[in-house]
Amino acid sequence: MTEFKSVVCPICGCLCDDLEITVENNEIVKMKNGCAVCEAKMVYGYKSEERILKPMIRKDGKLVPVTMDEAIHKAAQILVDAKYPLLYGWSSSTNEAQRIGVELAEELGSTLDNCASICHGPSVMATQEIGIPTATLGQIRHRADLIVYWACNPWTSHPRHVERYTAFTEGRFEKSEWKNYMLKLKGETGKKKIEAASKRLGQYSPPPRPQVCMVDAPPKSIQKMGRKMIVVDVRKTKTAEAADYFLQVEPNKDYEIFSALRCLVNDQELDIDKVGGVPVDYLKDVADAMINCEFGAIFFGLGLTQSLGRFRNIEVAIALTRDLNRRTKFVISPMRGHFNVTGANIVFAWQTGYPYAIDFSQGYPQYNPGEFTINDLLRRGDNDATLVISSDPGAHFPKSSMQNMMKHPLITINPDMNAISRLGDVVFPAQWCGIEYSGTAYRMDSVPIPLKKVVEPPPGILNDQELLERILNEVRAIKAQKTEVQTKVKGEVRSAAKTVKKTAKRTKRKVA
């Protein structure tokens, strides 16, 4: 039995690094400190029966096991033969593997894209428009007295975010709101109990459903000293229940709400009563809370990046944060999803200058989201081979994209038989990153954290970095052979041409 401490959870962008893991007979049997999502993967999920244990190649429509060498050769051949391959995924792999990924893309003259393309790509674009005032999560834990979760639901997507980094943590200057929350919860359950009891007694009449405005007025407590939490979303989530104030907005109206808040923060008057379904008076209270806090933090999620307005939503959210910095201290931060999608942006940027949506077809990196982003490429049917690593577009992509992807060879690298692996022509097994091999990942606030290896991978399976290195070497070998053959052929053609010329001359002379 071995105990591991300070193990990092390789699941969401929180990258909690305080897990205690017990391993018996090369199996994780116990995990402490992680959330339920973490337990599901670290204790059970990684041992899945769907685990791929051997490389496979599709022959006559069926996946058949082959040797690693054969699979690597086949994959490299596909990539070299393709005119415009696409390498995609990366967000659940290590920086070390991503580095090789960039090199491979460059060698192939392919496109290179990561999952930011379908999650926080708009946030990246907004940042490129107006920058971003932000902070590491510890800074927020120590100082933030106002926390705003906007269009995200950490309670389910990043379960320990609130408890580790924001409202429910102890900071140097701000105390945890956990106790208050428990009191509130007790109160709520008490209310519910009474309701249930009166229902049983037949005295219960449900409160009338609000017709127009579902928003409650902000409570006085959002102006108080100490930690406060506001949630802005289109529906009441678990996170919203824990908040001091839940501001419910109409779908696709975030841009308007942000703009209204900007006006209010900048002391302008609004000549309307409501914005996005919210009375302006309520927004005034929120704006006041924002101005009067000592350190505010906005976290936003895919509800902003994927709704109407896309990167403009993020841009206006950042603009509001900029305005607020003229009044107090305020930061804003995207809730990055996969545990190392931030790392993919970072590694791509230091090697090429660009965070995603990169094209190498001209021999140098070019960047253009909308052109070199995977779904745009696929839907136009531009690429003619795809490599997918540590990601499952098969489960998430639109049909039109998948249909075009399937028209051409597909190489996959994933630990288990997920949707995309099932569709692959060359299917590689992989090690579980952060469980079976170590490496580096970047937390959602760009803090690098070393992933740990706690169990041995199944025999014969390479980690992402090793595998990519071998594919890259094979690609280079095939290309070298190709040029050799080409020069040889060229040489032969040239000498043949010479002989032809010579004979022609001779014949001419003879004729003369």
Binding site: A135, G138, E170, V331, Q351, Y364, P365
Partner: protein, 565 residues
């Protein structure tokens, strides 16, 4: 390893007091040696060329979280400067914040072989090392930001210098850093709540300490630990009109700490700290005051932080300063606070000749470099990319060595700047010998690198050969030709290998070493359960996951020093 003999060049090696003598330089096993076997060695005919040690840059932001955020937010900066893949080299993008590989290539083709990264937040140390690994052809090192680290503030406030020293030693080792970096001491912590400090005697909120005490404390720590470099200081009020007074206050506050006549602090990018005038309208140069002080004292070294007229990206750990730039410009602005340690910010910026303040800034950098008489006290930098990208170094060298070059630029500057500039009154033109001091010999000495910056026997086999014939060219008059010569070395030799020739990389197999300091304290910093708990309270990652383990450094060059505590 191959032997190389550089024959008949004009050798300029100030460390060894060699000024343009015609000599041969022999290199074997990556080091300068007395002689090599002429028949076996590769001979480089350097007749008519100038031979110097490889360049040593003391302050340049080439790697790490802040630098990369700069890359990430500025695609418009990269579009105009795409770099193609070749048989030997990787592709990338250039201009104000080149991608990692391109950074290595461009420095190398300019004859540089060592570059020190200006700063990084300790929490993100792994990031900086990952990037340094991807910068080829250069030796490099990097300075952890320690001036606002809570452990430092608390120990100094308690007056426990020794405990502070042990923590700094631990940090230096854990982050694989090279020198203590202090940025706007006290200001970064204040910025946590959106405030700043405005003089060296302002109290830092919540910590009962002043910038003066931080700087003095860390200088003492630096000495106790016997670190190779002095503290590397970015002063308070940077970038504010009138700040030359704060800079003078800072220098005066540490005068008594130099006991042996040696420097105790390196004040970086002095141009940004030498502003006079009460506001932007009355903005003028404080170069006269600063250089007078420096000429009369020996406890400080400086680097220029020269401004170039171009579009560039400013980035510093000085969060409040970048905020000020944001309020002035309204540009896209990145702020990046780092818990317990530091802050940071980024603003793209274009320095324009026809902007009075920018043009005066340009003048200030050159004025100080020329008015400080001793070239061993002030070194050439642009605080890349803050004043301008490092690719503009040849332009700075031209201004330093040629009054004509300065006049050519000044006459196109804003009228106000022309009227206020001290440059017309300065006749000094740096010689090749002095240029070698401000670009390699002086920096290597200040950094405490006995094997760098010179060509004596035993030095690293890092050599740069330039197409300058000091016998036939008057460099001040022919500044354009010399500028061109510094843009592309004829040869750059790194560790005894020819890595670049005529501005092109010819051998890309040298990754370069990462230099870091392993301080051995008599009594180690005790990391017990209590410390770990404190650690957990202060940071958002666990103690075990904090240090930079060995595998983060591709080629490690560890310098072990014995501390006196």
């Amino acid at each position: 390893m191959a032997e190389i003999l550089v024959k008949n060049g004009f050798v300029v090696d100030p460390t060894n007091k060699i000024d343009g003598e015609k000599m041969d330089i022999a290199i074997k096993d990556g080091k300068i040696v007395k002689k090599v076997n002429e028949r076996k060695a590769k001979i480089i005919d350097a007749s008519g060329l100038t031979v110097m040690a490889g360049g040593v840059d003391i302050h340049s932001h080439i790697a790490g979280a802040e630098v990369n955020m700069g890359r990430l937010i500025r695609p418009e900066d990269h579009y105009k400067d795409a770099v193609r893949k070749t048989k030997l080299t990787r592709s990338g993008t250039g201009y104000s914040i080149p991608s990692t590989f391109v950074t290595g290539y461009r420095y190398s083709t300019m004859g540089y072989t060592t570059v020190m990264n200006g700063s990084f937040a300790p929490l993100k140390a792994k990031h900086v090392h990952e990037e340094l690994n991807d910068i080829p052809l250069l030796d490099k090192g990097t300075y952890p930001l320690l001036g606002d680290w809570w452990f430092v503030l608390e120990n100094l406030a308690k007056g426990d210098i020794e405990e502070c020293a042990r923590h700094v030693a631990w940090m230096m080792q854990s982050t694989k850093g090279y020198a203590i970096k202090v940025v706007n001491p006290g200001g970064l912590e204040s910025w946590g709540f959106g405030h700043n400090v405005h003089s060296i005697d302002d109290q830092v909120p919540n910590f009962c300490i002043t910038p003066r005490e931080i700087v003095r404390g860390l200088i003492k720590v630096d000495k106790m630990l016997n670190l190779p470099h002095t503290i590397h200081l970015h002063t308070n009020n940077l970038g504010q009109p009138g700040n030359y007074k704060t800079t003078l206050d800072t220098m005066r506050a540490i005068e008594d700490l130099s006991t042996d006549g040696k420097p105790v602090a390196h004040i970086t990018h002095i141009q940004f700290a030498s502003f006079a005038g009460d506001d932007w309208g009355k903005f003028r140069s404080g170069a006269d005051e600063i250089s007078k002080y420096i000429n009369a004292h020996n406890h400080i070294t400086l680097d220029m932080g020269q401004v170039i007229f171009t579009d560039t990206t400013t980035m510093t750990a000085d969060g409040p300063f970048e905020y000020t730039l944001y309020t002035l410009s309204g540009h896209k602005w990145v702020n990046s606070d780092v818990e317990t340690e530091a802050s940071g910010g980024i603003i793209p910026f274009t320095y324009k000749k026809n902007n009075a303040v920018n043009a005066i800034q340009w003048s200030i950098g050159l004025e100080i470099a020329l008015l400080v008489k001793d070239p061993w006290k002030i070194f050439m930098t642009t605080d890349h990319p803050n004043g301008g990208p490092f690719m503009s170094y040849p332009r700075v060298l031209a201004w330093l060595m040629s009054k004509k070059a300065r006049e050519a630029t000044l006459k196109r500057c804003h009228k106000k700047a022309q009227k206020k500039s001290l440059l017309p009154s300065i006749d000094r033109e740096l010689s090749l010998y002095e240029l070698a001091i401000v670009t390699r010999a002086g920096t290597a000495k200040a950094l405490g690198m006995p094997n760098k910056g010179h060509l004596g026997v035993g030095a690293d086999g890092d050599v740069a050969i330039f197409n300058i014939n000091p016998e036939t060219t008057d460099i001040a008059k022919k500044y354009k030709a010399v500028r061109k010569a510094f843009k592309e070395s004829v040869y750059t030799i790194k560790d005894g290998k020819i890595v670049a020739k005529d501005g092109e990389v010819v051998d890309n197999t040298t990754p370069g070493r990462t230099m870091w300091v392993d301080v051995k304290t008599k009594q180690p910093c005790i990391i017990n359960e209590e410390m770990k708990r404190k650690f957990r309270e202060y940071w958002s990652i666990e103690y075990e996951n904090y240090p930079v383990s060995d595998h983060y450094v591709k080629v490690s060059d560890k310098l072990t020093v014995e501390a006196s505590v």
